[in-house]
């Protein structure tokens, strides 16, 4: 009898397990814990993966696997002739998530859009500082306060952004994570209850997945939102299993504890590729590793010296040794996946003899300089110290002595951006929004000196081209202007464009329809699991 009972119980458990298996679950071994779930003030890629790409939508979004801007919560928009007014027509019938802590009574309206931006923008907005010590870094970083004049409600489903001056990248900015649309109705409910902080821990959005549970530093659970405006997702449950160590992530994927993972350690890629149950997707990252000369410091103020020093570096050896096959020679500042990339640019040649002659012709002999090495592994440069050592050896061959210097990461960047910094400075950039302006203006405009223009380079012609490209919204015209900018950059060589890295995404073969984003985020919208 007892045996019978045990058998029955066992059968019941098995039946339950089988029932549970019918719900399609995708487990993503994510690389870090999110700070919270309100994308507005957040900055980390892992924060955005866990919030804006699951729970929320934006007015416009990047097409899956591309940097092209497509309609999302706004189904259409118009830009005024002077480029200063953007009118968005909202999609009717977009539902917010129903949660145990919030039941929406209305669909998305212009009020939600206005609330989303005003809380980031207006210091007198109650939600501007709803968490202690919070900052809106992306809203500030993308210069939104400078460009926004007003955001007006035309009617419930129409909203107009008025700018202070034309700014072509604005549309791409609005597709960024910080611009995720939040619910004003939910905010009002929390304001009434007094628990404003819940806005960041119990999120409500319009996105493909709704929040279920977060166990600190362990696991985040989401469920497909049944009333999602693009239709319910193919998978039922999405789980983020937070696994910080890259090798452990790989082991978990191999052991079947997760279905997909980001950022494998370079050493694990071959093992993962060899596993017959796995596929390793790869793509060029939207990034650039570069080395900024200080163009105000002699002899680096002479473009001939800069070009000669670049010519003395064996870039292909660096890419092979440091990027280990996961890098690509960068001949321009922007990566080839970005529109306006100038493929006509000639690649840098390695010619130590010619470099030595050019240095001598410029009157540079026995040059001793500092060479700054990135202290941390970055997507665009896996090992700054090693790169510096290789360059040090290359430069020694042309009679240049380089002393490698480095500091803790934030300290490093702080010291590097000082206009009187001595020596070439190794750094890099990962694109935010797929717009070339995000590279050219952020890194090399005159106004970025002392902020992120590590070359202290201010070139009149380059500046004119990139500023003109910013104020026109005609793609062909912008492309022509950015081509000019790339030609000037190459002729002046304010920085050595080192490499664009490749990004890898290992997953089980049963994972279907995953698109790698060139912007480096991880979205599971539309992803399915083969049964």
């Amino acid at each position: 009898m007892k045996l019978m009972k045990t058998l029955l119980a066992a059968t019941a458990i098995l039946a339950l397990a089988a029932g549970a298996a019918q719900a399609k679950q995708l487990i993503y071994c994510s690389e870090a814990s999110p700070a919270h779930f309100d994308p507005g003030p957040l900055t980390g890629g892992n924060d955005f993966d866990a919030s804006s790409h699951t729970i929320y939508n934006r007015l416009v979004e990047f097409a899956p696997g591309a940097t092209e801007v497509i309609p999302a919560l706004a189904e259409s928009w118009e830009v005024s002739a002077d480029g200063k007014e953007y009118t968005f027509h909202l999609r009717p019938g977009v539902k917010f998530h129903t949660q145990p802590y919030f039941t929406p009574t209305r669909d998305l309206t212009a009020d939600d859009v206005i609330f989303t931006f005003e809380r980031q923008w207006k210091e007198d907005n109650k939600w501007h500082a709803y968490l202690e010590g919070m900052t809106w870094d992306y809203f500030q970083g993308m210069d939104m306060p400078k460009y926004l004049s007003s955001i007006e409600k035309v009617d419930d489903l129409t909203v107009k952004f008025v700018l202070t001056e034309p700014n072509a990248p604005m549309l791409a900015n609005l597709a960024m994570d910080f611009a995720s649309i939040v619910s004003k109705e939910y905010a009002d409910q929390l304001e009434a209850s007094g628990d404003l902080a819940a806005f960041s821990t119990q999120p409500v959005g319009t996105g493909p997945f709704q929040f279920v549970d977060y166990q600190l530093d362990t696991v985040i659970r989401y469920a497909a939102f049944p009333d999602y405006w693009e239709g319910k997702q193919p998978i039922d449950d999405l789980v983020f299993a937070i696994t910080t160590d890259a090798s452990v992530r790989a082991q978990r994927l191999i052991a079947g504890e997760c279905d997909i993972m980001p950022y494998p350690a370079p050493a694990d890629i071959d093992i993962l590729k060899a596993d017959e149950n796995l596929t390793v997707m790869e793509q060029e990252g939207l990034n650039i590793g570069y080395i900024s000369y200080n163009t105000t410091e002699p002899p680096f103020d002479n473009p001939d010296v800069r070009k000669a020093l670049t010519m003395a570096i064996d870039k292909s050896a660096i890419i092979e040794a440091v990027y280990q096959g996961a890098g690509q020679d960068a001949k321009n500042l922007i990566p080839p996946t970005m529109w306006s990339y100038d493929d006509a640019t000639a690649a840098d040649v390695y010619d130590p003899e010619a470099a030595k002659a050019a240095l001598e012709a410029a009157g540079v002999t026995d040059l001793t300089t500092d060479l700054w090495a990135i202290p941390v592994s970055r997507p665009y440069n896996p090992n700054g110290q090693r790169v510096a050592e290789l360059i040090q050896a290359d430069w020694a061959k042309v009679g240049v002595t380089a002393n490698i210097v480095t500091y803790e990461w934030t300290e490093y960047r702080e010291r590097g951006k000082q206009p009187d910094r001595k020596g070439p400075f190794m750094i890099g950039w990962t694109g935010d929004n797929g717009d070339p302006d995000n590279f050219f203006a952020t890194l090399f405009s005159c106004s970025a000196i002392g902020v992120s223009n590590y070359s202290s380079w201010c070139n009149e012609d380059f500046e004119a081209a990139i500023q003109a490209a910013k104020t026109t919204s005609d793609p062909a015209e912008r492309t022509a202007l950015y081509t000019t900018a790339q030609e000037i950059f190459k002729a002046e060589e304010p920085a050595i464009t080192l490499a664009h890295s490749r990004v890898f995404m290992p997953m089980k073969k049963t994972v279907l329809n995953y698109h790698m984003s060139p912007l480096g985020n991880h979205s599971f919208k539309g992803v399915d699991i083969e049964e």
């Binding site: 900052t135 052991a255 702080e414």
Partner: protein, 347 residues
């Protein structure tokens, strides 16, 4: 003759307790200064770390500095901090904006569960191994045990953990790679102790899963304490076995088993208990590495993540809370020691 446990009120015991408690105040102040200074000695800047790759303009940097109080003189920052801590306010995490104490309480059970299991394994194996090695002094068992213990003591935890994962989880597939429980189980925490919670839910398969997840990290974390306990037990046992009263017991014709278990062991265990108490600090240190390798969501991993984020508030308050706990455990062990060894109280 074995030491008798004192019964009833004892003025020496009270004195001892008061003396120990009085020492706590300067120690806490010392620790708070160390914790406060430590994060500030680290190169880096919390405001810049928060800002990401865009950085901040100098004007905005000054505004943020003021907002966080980093513009005040360092001594004033310290006294503000100490004042808050004394009122039980450990601050708000710079990264997550949640109260530090809430995060600590959410994560601490995971660390305790891991540390207790590790200690349980270490004691369960370490003490018998030590006794046996002492009794069979010079035998192959003694030499092998002490050799293994020395290796265990010198083992770099990070490497050892990865090695075990690759072998047991990757190659043999016997244990899970990381985490606290299989993700198919979705149980909201009750006590935060996974073994207890799964039992409270009456979910037997979940309990088994939690246990399987606990084995490797507990073995890794328990390795060094096990080695220390085994060596300490052996040497304490050897010392006691040479005492007169043991010889007397033997001369009385008691069985060797009785001599070891009753007469020798009780006295030999006194220094071993102190050693176990001292291992608590070591366990906290080891937990940082073990939790990081096994993605064990406890306070060790929390501290490491916070150091990388330059989350000053979490690091300084976390250090302080951990130090307080280690101090409390050490005090408890000392009292226990005094309780079972009256000689200490009078000294």
């Amino acid at each position: 003759m074995a030491v008798r446990v004192a019964k009833g009120k004892d003025p020496h015991m009270l004195n001892y307790l008061l003396r120990r408690l009085a020492l706590i105040v300067p120690t806490i102040i010392g620790i708070s200064i160390c914790a406060f200074a430590f994060v500030r000695v680290l190169p880096g800047d919390p405001i810049l770390a928060m800002a990401g790759q865009h950085g901040v303009t100098p004007e905005r940097y000054e505004i943020l500095k003021e907002q966080f109080g980093y513009n005040l003189p360092i001594w004033q920052q310290y006294f503000d901090y100490l004042g808050s801590v004394l009122q039980g306010d450990f601050g708000i995490s710079l990264a997550t904006k949640r109260p530090v104490i809430n995060e600590f309480l959410a994560l601490f059970p995971a660390t305790i569960e891991l540390a207790l299991t590790a200690m349980f394994l270490a004691v369960l194996i370490g003490i018998p191994a030590g006794i046996f090695a002492a009794v069979k002094r010079g035998s192959w068992f003694d030499q092998a045990t002490m050799g293994v213990a020395l290796t265990g003591y010198s083992m770099p935890i990070f490497w050892w953990g990865l090695l075990l994962i690759i072998f047991f989880s990757g190659y043999l597939g016997w244990t899970p790679v990381s985490g606290r429980i299989a993700l198919s189980f979705f149980l909201r925490p009750i006590t935060g102790f996974m073994l207890i919670d799964t039992l409270l839910y009456g979910n037997w398969p979940a309990f088994v899963s939690a246990l399987r997840h606990l084995i490797l990290p507990a073995v890794v974390l328990g390795t060094i304490p096990l080695a220390v306990i085994a060596r300490q037990t052996r040497s304490a046992m050897l010392e006691v076995l040479g005492e007169d009263y043991v010889r007397t017991a033997r001369a009385k014709g008691l069985s060797p088993r009785r001599v070891v278990n009753i007469h020798a062991l009780r006295n030999a265990l006194i220094p071993v208990i102190t050693t176990i108490g001292l291992q608590v600090g070591l366990l906290m240190g080891g937990a940082i590495l073990t939790e990081t390798i096994f993605t064990w969501p406890g306070i060790g991993k929390w501290m490491i993540d916070s150091i990388f984020k330059r989350d000053y508030v979490v690091v300084q308050s976390g250090l302080l809370i951990i130090a307080l706990i280690v101090m409390a455990v050490n005090l408890l062990v000392d009292l226990l020691y005094a309780f079972i060894n009256p000689r200490i109280r009078v000294q």
